[in-house]
């Protein structure tokens, strides 16, 4: 699969072949085929399986929860991840409670496209996955150009807990990293099981800094790493986490325990971000190194390029940070 989108479509179609799987969301049917045309053609090819809902995020997410409670396997699509604030009550106060309280395995995946850098402004650009992490019986899965979304999607449906599947809108337009030219310079290893940590580095090089990130920033970070290596002869490596919650902290620790510099990077707002939690966990294990975390700053995400740059992390700034560390 060459592109992120192809992989995602493949995963959706594999899931939809199961009679218990349905995809529900706003404008997902043909001729529109979803806000990012991910489901284009599917409602025609598989009549009755891909269904337009009214604009009732809370309502149709609850509908998905009920389907899952009755043994079905719904995929719920939220048009913009920003709107996942509206569905939290159904995921947290209903679905997650049923898993332990009612001893039910719930097969439910919420596709939740996150991310900015597109000029869509404050309510259509956020990365809100941090609202859902660290809560019992909710999984937060983050595909990227290193973690094929289709594969993760299919595995997510088998987790038995509600899954926030945090896709990234810019990734819809990207190739999987293996299909990129610069990939040849890298060595990519995968650690862990179904939801692995991808390690991207340069063969034979001791990294000066370990980056820990996920999701839509992985693509520009890999390009930045390539530039740093080629232009500045600075080798850094990236650990790309595909399951934010639960997070395999043991695995992460085993991968970084001898490092001197660890930098976490996320698109969502910090402090109190994903990276802060990772750093806290590593520090509590007695790891002694320099830690930094980067994320969106305390501004709303403006629409102009300048306004957006006030809030969202900028690759040039990250590069500077690494070079001057």
């Amino acid at each position: 699969m060459n592109t992120y989108k192809e992989s995602l479509i493949d995963g959706l179609e594999r899931l939809l072949a199961d009679p218990k799987v349905f995809l529900l969301g706003e404008d997902v049917e043909d001729p529109y085929g979803g806000a990012y045309t991910i489901t284009k053609g599917m409602s025609t090819r598989m009549p009755g399986k891909v269904l337009n809902t009214p604009m009732s995020e809370q309502g149709f997410t609850g509908l998905g929860v009920g389907m899952a409670l009755a043994g079905y396997k719904p995929i719920v699509e939220i048009m913009f991840g920003d709107f996942s604030t509206l569905i939290m009550d159904q995921i947290l106060n209903h679905a997650s409670k049923f898993v332990e309280g009612f001893e039910k395995r719930l097969h439910l995946v919420v596709r939740d496209p996150m991310g900015g850098y597109r000029g869509y402004g404050a309510t259509h650009s956020q990365s809100l996955e941090k609202l859902y992490v660290g809560l019992p019986h909710i999984a937060v899965i983050t595909p990227s150009v290193l973690h094929a979304p289709g594969e993760l999607l299919v595995k997510s449906m088998e987790l038995g807990v509600p899954v926030i599947f945090a896709e990234n809108k810019l990734d819809y337009t990207r190739k999987m990293f293996a299909a990129e030219k610069i990939a040849e310079a890298f060595e990519i290893k995968y650690h862990g099981g179904d939801f692995p940590v991808a390690e991207a580095g340069f063969p034979g090089e001791e990294p000066e800094v370990t980056l820990i990130g996920y999701g839509g920033l992985v693509h520009p970070l890999l390009q930045m790493m390539y530039d740093l290596y080629m232009e500045e002869e600075v080798a850094v490596r990236l650990l790309d986490v595909s399951s934010l919650s639960p997070m395999d902290f043991d695995l992460l620790y085993s991968l970084v325990k001898d490092d001197a510099k660890v930098l976490t990077i996320e698109e969502g707002h910090v402090p109190f971000g994903i990276g802060d939690a990772i750093i806290s966990n590593l520090a509590q294990r007695g790891m002694r190194c320099q830690f930094r975390s980067v994320g969106a700053k305390q501004h709303i995400i403006g629409t102009s390029k300048e306004a957006e740059a006030l809030a969202l992390p900028q690759i040039d700034d990250i590069k500077e940070l690494i070079l001057n560390w």
Partner: protein, 292 residues
């Protein structure tokens, strides 16, 4: 159900609820609870209209009556409130978060409405004649997701029965003060849902209306809505003194108490015998729960 069975079930709920209230007031139970004294009629009717082996039933915080009617084992409800491993949710759920087969309750007011619509989606695709029913209050009628559920159920054509128990209050808030119309008929009909209204006082009448609605959902595979006018004689929750309920309202409902209505169809001796039987059962349940 004959009148004896109906009265037995109603009284079992009422006396169990009174027992639970008294255990709370003695400080013997932990957390909170919402009793349904005065609102026994709907659970009793559903005890025979819903087939727990195929149908689904969901409700919210005020569901002790439904719980006892669905399980037929009050000790699993009291045990749950006491945190016992044989409780309906193994002691994890308390009064508000219980389950038994296809019966589920949760503590978010009205939140089970969209869940029930989703269950109905599954049942429709399963084929067969199973239905999904959700019971909620007048307060829930102002939660947006409940209205979203009405819209989804009707526009998607799903086999769900909505039962609104309108007891006139959401906690202390009278419906008159927060709704432009105090009966919800127009709102419900705005979603094109078939609507019936009935008072809980006359059990036979209530039963006929609910039975008709259940049968329609079963055969037509589309939603129905029943608004049941009712009254709660107890506080909203364990510590509520009911200062907001006017005497006249209580007086009206004492006249129209569903228990009285059924008892009037039996001889005093029959009623007395049933009372005694219920009292014994409640005592057995209590003894079981304190010793196990």
């Amino acid at each position: 159900m004959d009148n004896k069975e109906i009265l037995y079930k109603m009284l079992l709920i009422r006396r169990m609820e009174q027992k639970i209230e008294s255990l709370f007031s003695q400080g013997l139970l932990r957390g909170t609870t919402h009793c349904c004294i005065g609102e026994e009629a709907v659970p009793v009717a559903l005890s025979v209209l819903i087939d727990m082996d195929k149908d689904y039933l969901c409700s919210g915080h005020r569901a002790h009556g439904l719980s006892m009617m669905m399980t037929g084992k009050p000790e699993t409800l009291l045990g749950e409130i006491m945190g016992k491993p044989y409780g309906m949710a193994k002691g994890l759920g308390g009064s508000q978060h219980v389950y038994y087969k296809n019966y589920f309750t949760n503590g978010i007011t009205g939140g089970m409405a969209p869940v029930t619509v989703g269950i109905a989606f599954a049942l429709k695709h399963d084929g067969g004649d199973a239905i999904a029913t959700v019971v909620f209050g007048d307060g829930a009628m102002n939660e947006g997701y409940v209205l979203e559920s009405f819209n989804m159920a009707q526009s998607m054509g799903l086999p769900v029965l909505f039962i609104l128990e309108n007891n006139g209050y959401a906690m202390s808030t009278p419906i008159e003060t927060v709704n432009p119309y105090t009966v919800f008929e127009d709102r419900v009909k705005g979603f094109a849902l078939p609507y019936q209204r009935v008072e809980a006082s006359d059990f036979d009448n209530l039963f006929a209306v609910l039975k008709d609605a259940v049968e329609k959902v079963r055969t037509e595979r589309t939603p129905q809505f029943v608004e049941v006018m009712t009254h709660r004689f107890c506080g909203h929750s364990k510590s509520d003194k009911r200062a907001y309920i006017p005497q006249e309202r209580d007086d009206y409902w004492h006249e129209h108490d569903c228990v009285k209505g059924v008892a009037a169809k039996l001889t005093p001796a029959e009623v007395e015998a049933i009372e005694a039987e219920v009292a014994q059962r409640v005592e057995e349940v209590y003894q079981y729960c304190v010793t196990h």
